[in-house]
Symmetry: C2
Subunit: 314 residues, 2 copies
């Protein structure tokens, strides 16, 4: 890569913009940095939900209806596991399971998560580079009124029902940044950063909690643009606004602007929020229709983000 964009993203919401970006920028000009705080071990498999969602999305084999996993998936294995009495709170499809089997096999062979991700991407025909935020485990722990829960337990097993008190990222202080990312940063290969509209607390903060990555963004010499995950005081999908309320944060673009304050130069918000933006010297607000459902909406928003970043250069 000569000079390009670093797109920071989590799972489903972020992957929509990530898809749009992949259609606008070639692999030489776009790299993804992905949350692995949701990673976990289930039935001996090493599962990386956000890496998989992005990988499947870019390979265009994801299931857009369900929002996760693969399209044309079958569930024979899951049914048989249930019959054996396995607690199948995390649903593995027959094809999706192959991703976890292969990842686990390659990690067991001693390969780094970034290498494994690249191999999986190559097999799926994904040409853009997807980099996990850490080679070593960083685990997002949600402290709730039902106790401490690993992210996937909170998100899938308990369906975001427990009340969130605190979110912490275990292991981020000792996180081992992938060498390939370090090299790109050291060589100043990024001309801009886009923070995709993933949940700031659950998907983006784990990445920012890694000191080396936080430093890179704080002392940046390139503009950073974030896309709001909030439209008209509510999250587009998922538990963002529910979690914000439970943590006594008003679900609004103002709160998002405050949250990313010092880390972003541009905040892309929806037209619907024109009346809701705060006055902040450090942040420029750019308005667009940021709701994404169709491919053309995703590509359009990606284009607008890049235009906004380019405006910043001038």
């Amino acid at each position: 890569m000569k000079s390009g964009i670093l797109a920071i993203c989590g799972g489903i919401g972020g992957a929509k913009l990530a898809f749009g970006l992949s259609k606008v920028l070639p692999p030489e000009e776009l790299v993804y940095l992905v949350n692995t705080g949701d990673d976990f071990t289930y039935l001996n498999f090493q599962i990386s939900p956000d890496l998989d969602t992005l990988m499947y999305t870019l390979a265009e084999v994801n299931d857009p209806e369900r929002g996760w996993g693969l399209k044309n998936e079958t569930w024979k294995n899951l049914k048989a596991l249930k019959e054996y009495g396995v607690d199948t709170w995390f649903q593995l499809g027959d094809k999706d399971l192959a991703t976890h089997i292969r990842r686990t096999q390659l990690l067991d062979e001693g390969k780094k998560l970034s290498e494994v991700t690249k191999l999986l991407c190559t097999s799926l025909g994904v040409k853009h580079l997807i980099i996990p935020m850490s080679e070593s485990p960083v685990r997002t722990i949600v402290t709730t009124d039902k106790g401490k829960l690993a992210f996937q337990e909170y998100f899938v097993k308990f369906q975001c029902k427990p009340k969130v008190k605190k979110i912490s990222y275990i292991g981020s202080n000792k996180a081992e940044i992938p060498k390939v990312l370090k090299k790109l940063i050291d060589e100043n290969r990024f001309s801009g950063v886009i923070i995709c509209p993933s949940n700031p607390y659950l998907s983006i903060d784990p990445i920012l909690s890694i000191p080396e990555l936080n430093l890179f963004l704080s002392e940046r010499n390139m503009p950073v643009l974030a896309v709001s995950p909030i439209i008209n005081n509510a999250s587009i999908k998922g538990p963002t606004s529910k979690i914000m309320k439970e943590m006594n944060i008003e679900p609004s673009v103002k709160s998002i602007a405050d949250h990313y304050s010092g880390l972003t130069d541009i905040l892309m918000v929806d037209y619907k929020d024109k009346e809701n933006i705060p006055r902040l010297d450090s942040v420029s607000f750019v308005f667009d229709s940021i709701y994404m459902e169709t491919s053309s909406q995703k590509i359009n928003l990606a284009t607008k983000c890049l235009e906004a970043l380019e405006g910043k250069y001038s």
Copy 2:
């Protein structure tokens, strides 16, 4: 169990008679002792081919056409694994895979193989007790002209093509006999033993290689009947006669009688071998049609075996 039959068996050939026996004797009067020398670890899964074949056969969910695995199986996971570049020499079906996932999970939790087997059997509705020959690993190693091969490598990966020089059973000296079996033996619960027509060298000898089990059969106070895996100087299915030739053993009922000499009182052979039986004081030969394809052939042979054993009592 008050007083009953111990059926010793390996995989496919043995499972046919085992099926017949299950239709003739209730669970209180029949226990299976099964070879685990073929067990191996593949893609992190603990696989027990002979236990699975018997379990699936008794549950009547086995695929009789293919001879292994489950009927109505699908292969989505296998296809996806291949696309990821996994060396899929051992074919795992989507449903069959659940057995290996569950077994591995339960073993990882610290359960013994005999306990795991019982849980799997219960889920599949198998009422007869299936006992693995050992809780600890015993591994059948085939020394060939292509080097030493683990059994499944020899059998599946290399399709029995390498020339067999020697067969050894690693770990059998230290094998940990399942307590449930030990208890049944100590309490003299068996009134007869049937050695099913599995491959003597690859499926039965691993069991006999365990000193405690060998002693139990040598110092027996009940009759032992073996069913010949050879009809008319050839194996019914599988590599038995090929292996015998490679080890300079004539593939004949005489060789089988010699091989089991001292361990069996009765040898059940096919009518076709009437002219081929040797004179041996220690072994009585019983003739029948021992080729099994249909359920009624399996049930018929099982009945004949039990009748022969009963004749021995009188």
